[in-house]
């Protein structure tokens, strides 16, 4: 055993005056009596206690010496043999699988108990920090020597519904400089470079199927439990029959044998009422099952739920279903109407043809006469949302008259934002920008492609209540009508202007933060999650989805007005459902757990002092 403060052992010298004082103290007071013979008769029955009576004084001294000695040793801050003075990072796995119950209780509680024991063992002589790891690492405390602070941080840890991402552990083993270079690690407590550090991950063994990175020591909690759940799901309307909903699903099970269970398909209306749409009998094989699809006729867009019959699972699985959260998948079936596109051009043929190219199976665009959501044309297109080729004349989408009728030759175009939705599916450098005119984009415009002299070639512009995509070339002179990029660019621009360039998925996983398509940049809105508690949001990108279920968002749409978005969040994590039967790793060596030696010594001192106080009380007042 070593001591962090060995100079405090000098306090053991207090034993000398203690012993001296004690021998003086235990001399009893003289009491004259007139009937000693009666006392002798009473005490004659207690001869058996005489040895104890004789030893009691020495016992008292020994007890007090033990108390003082224990306090002296505790002041020396002893460490268990082999306990190194390294900084310790205690990482608790709080992924969804830690919600599973099993032998000894819920896994997250077992992990927290282990973490508390580690924190207590530090005994104010070692620094440590607490973090959680699931989809990402979150630090729960600063680096501290105070076990109480660590325990308070551990107590506050709650399990998430996120799947464990083992890659986040790699960041923990990086040097502090590397950590600071990574976004999340900016909150990481600065560990002392002079001291070695240890990272201990307390987990149920679910590491996304990957081994723990080097430098991370594992403490496994939880036992083997049977569980079955849905690990994959999606829903989409058929492009052929727009009333038929195709549902994709995948299941997994940790049971050693196949189990038969019904898959219930629920349709959920706007009021939250569920209507059973289909019951599909399933046989779930052990492990990850083959993905399957099912169809629901006459389906309506909106919220849907896939649910494994919980009662059947409870019957079929030994010990019941360990993780009920993966039995249900929440989905949103979307069937957006096609974007209506009007053509405003003296020569509309190729424009109409480009729209018709997306009118067929997908139903993405629809050619209309009169007002459409988007107007496609050339010259000065008088519409709030316009896709403009070969700009000319006066228009709010450019400043002044674009270069008169004089075209200029574009040397080497530059792509400024290749990932913008308007151009990400085309190669702008392969376009022949013949007929481009010198013009100036309006303030606030976003130039995607520009000429070598800075003339914008493709840009987006917006103003209150509308926007435009301007393509600065003559499609006839440049023979762009014959290019495959032409309909693609039209489609992308129409979807962008209609706010559909990045549609919402039918389901998101916990920890994901979807961006609301068609939302205004200056967005204000309100999100109502599965708990029913509304929360205000200020950006079109939602914060990490934390709860499983349906989300309803209301906020400012691009171009003004208010719009609703519906989202769903489901667990859908193979590794969490399969609960990775823990192949328990050996416990890290030299890792103290439980109360520190100083704690035990203080407890010993208290016990000795208590025993002595009882003896003292008996000596003084019987």
């Amino acid at each position: 055993m070593t001591f962090a403060s060995p100079w405090m052992l000098w306090s053991l010298l207090a034993l000398v005056p203690l012993a001296a004082a004690y021998f003086l103290k235990v001399r009893p007071r003289r009491r004259p009596t007139t009937a000693l013979f009666l006392w002798e008769r009473i005490l004659e029955d207690r001869k058996a206690n005489r040895l104890w009576q004789r030893l009691r004084s020495i016992w008292s001294l020994l007890l007090m010496a033990a108390a003082v000695g224990a306090v002296g040793l505790a002041l020396g801050e002893p460490r268990w043999p082999g306990q190194s003075p390294s900084d310790l990072l205690i990482v608790i796995d709080n992924s969804a699988s830690m919600r599973a119950s099993g032998e000894g209780g819920v896994r997250i509680e077992l992990a927290k108990r282990e973490a508390r024991n580690l924190a207590r063992a530090l005994g104010s002589v070692q620094r440590a920090a607490v973090a959680t790891a699931a989809g990402r690492v979150r630090y729960a405390s600063h680096l501290t020597e105070n076990p109480r602070e660590l325990i308070a941080a551990i107590d506050a840890i709650e399990p998430t519904y996120e799947a464990f991402n083992a890659e986040v552990l790699a960041g923990l083993t990086n040097s502090p400089e590397e950590e600071n270079a990574e976004g999340e690690a900016n909150n990481a407590p600065s560990l002392d470079d002079a001291l070695p550090r240890r990272i201990v991950l307390i987990t149920d063994g679910v590491l996304g199927g990957q081994p723990a990175p080097e430098g991370v020591e594992l403490i496994a909690v939880g036992g083997k439990r049977e569980n079955a759940g849905i690990v994959g799901a999606d829903a989409e309307f058929s492009p052929i029959d727009r009333g038929e909903l195709t549902v994709y699903y995948q299941t997994a099970s940790t049971a050693p044998e196949a189990i038969d269970v019904d898959l219930l398909v629920w349709s959920v209306d706007g009021e939250g009422e569920r209507r059973l749409a289909r019951v599909v009998p399933l046989v779930i094989e052990p492990g990850l099952n083959v993905a399957k699809t099912l169809s629901v006729s006459d389906a309506e867009p909106g919220s849907w739920q896939l649910e494994l019959d919980a009662d059947q699972l409870a019957d079929r699985l030994d010990g019941g279903d360990a993780l009920p959260d993966d039995n249900t998948a929440w989905l949103v079936a979307r069937r957006p109407p096609p974007v209506s596109v009007a053509v405003s051009s003296a020569d509309p043929y190729f424009f109409e043809q480009s729209v018709r190219a997306f009118t067929g199976s997908g139903g993405l665009l629809q050619l209309v006469t009169g007002d459409g959501e988007v107007t496609l044309g050339s010259g000065a297109v008088p519409a709030d949302r316009a896709v403009v080729f070969h700009p000319g004349g006066a228009s709010p989408w450019w400043e002044g008259e674009p270069g008169g009728d004089v075209d200029f030759e574009v040397g080497a175009p530059r792509v400024l934002d290749a990932q913008h939705p308007v151009i990400r599916r085309i190669d702008p450098l392969l376009i022949n920008y013949v007929g481009a005119r010198r013009l100036k984009a309006p303030p606030g415009a976003r130039v995607l492609v520009e000429a070598d002299d800075g003339t914008p070639l493709i840009y987006t512009a917006s103003r209150a209540g509308g926007g435009a995509v301007v393509v600065n070339l003559d499609p006839v002179a440049s023979e762009f009508y014959f290019s495959a990029w032409f309909p693609v660019l039209v489609h992308a621009a129409a979807e962008h202007l209609a706010g559909r360039e990045e549609p919402l998925r039918s389901v998101y996983r916990p920890g994901q933060s979807p961006r609301l398509p068609g939302a205004a940049e200056a967005f204000t809105g309100q999100v109502t999650g599965p708990t029913g508690e509304p929360a205000s949001i200020e950006t079109p990108r939602l914060a990490d989805l934390a709860e499983l279920g349906d989300y309803q968002v209301t906020g400012t749409a691009r171009g003004g007005g208010e719009r609703n978005w519906r989202l769903a969040c489901s667990l859908l994590a193979e590794n969490e459902t399969l609960l990775s039967p823990p192949k328990k790793p050996p416990r890290p060596a030299d890792l103290a757990s439980g109360s520190p030696p100083a704690g035990w010594l203080v407890a010993l001192a208290i016990a000795a002092a208590t025993a002595e106080s009882i003896l003292y009380h008996r000596r003084k007042v019987g």
Binding site: R29, R30, T33, T34, L43, Q53, R619, G622
Partner: protein, 297 residues
């Protein structure tokens, strides 16, 4: 208070006047005896026996029942009063208020009162001290003129170390005094050797024995708890003990049992017993005794 103090003697005098009033006797030998014999006060009948004084035959009874009975009269005699005062150290121990010798003073005051009344009634009075041996505090004396020497003897009495050997003292006393009389024992009766044998011996030899038990709270209660070095006030013997409430209760029970055994012994031996504490004024004790018609068993 000194026993020869005039104030104290005046208090004794008033007690004597009370005694005369209560007992209603004359000056000489006016103490009523339980013995039967020739006197003037009728006491009882007895069957005629050969040699009986036929002047005492009650002829009226013979005329009526045709049987010879003789009338018995209370014997009026000048009795001897022996006062045995415990002079062991246990009588001189401090009371709960820390006043040493209160018990002993009280016992001597009681003895003085009894002796005073006795001497004024022209009885013979002797006072002895009980300790590890019998000591004479005031020799056998008679008459009012002996009051002061008796009081002086009591006043000068001191407590002595050593166990009270009551039984031994009684044997010595009996050896000295074969003449029967009234024996008044004033003590706390906390004798390691017991009191049965001594009291039995006195009763066996025809004495009228009376016991006045004087105990204070220090004798009957145990207020101190915890570790203690108990020291016998008589012998100086020591014992190291731990007194818990349980032990304290056991001691108090033991004293109660001891006193109960004294009461049983006195009842068996037809010995009068009064238990008093020094807190009770001694005049009140004497008055109570007198009003009850003396120390009766």
């Amino acid at each position: 208070m000194k026993l020869t103090d005039p104030e104290f003697i005046r208090r004794l005098d008033s007690l004597y006047l009370l005694a005369r009033k209560v007992l209603g006797g004359t000056l000489q030998a006016d103490r009523r005896s339980t013995k039967k014999g020739s006197g003037v006060t009728f006491a009882d009948y007895s069957e005629y026996y050969y040699g009986a004084d036929y002047r005492a035959i009650d002829w009226r009874v013979y005329a009526r029942f045709d049987s010879l009975v003789v009338k018995l009269f209370e014997l009026e005699e000048d009795a001897t009063i022996y006062i045995l005062v415990d002079t062991s150290r246990s009588m001189g121990s401090a009371d709960p208020q820390g006043r040493a010798g209160q018990k002993f003073l009280y016992a001597r005051q009681l003895a003085a009162a009894i002796g005073y009344i006795g001497l004024n009634s022209l009885d013979r009075v002797a006072v002895y001290g009980l300790g590890d041996s019998l000591t004479t505090l005031a020799g056998v004396a008679r008459g009012r003129g002996k009051v002061l020497p008796m009081l002086r003897g009591l006043e000068q009495a001191a407590t002595h170390p050593g166990d009270t050997r009551f039984n031994n003292c009684c044997r010595v006393f009996q050896a000295r005094h074969t003449r029967r009389g009234m024996v008044v024992v004033l003590s706390d009766f906390l004798f390691p050797d017991g009191f049965d044998e001594g009291l039995k011996l006195l009763g066996f030899h025809g004495h009228d024995v009376y016991a006045l038990q004087v105990q204070d709270e220090n004798d009957t209660r145990c207020d101190h708890k915890g570790d203690a070095l108990l020291e016998c006030v008589e012998t100086g013997r020591q014992k190291r003990v731990t007194i818990s409430p349980k032990e304290a209760r056991a001691y108090e029970r033991a004293v109660e049992d001891w006193n109960a055994s004294l009461r049983r012994c006195c009842v068996r031996q037809r010995i009068g017993l009064a238990s008093v504490t020094p807190d009770t004024p001694f005049e009140q004790v004497i008055r109570n005794i007198l009003r009850r018609g003396g120390l009766v068993a």
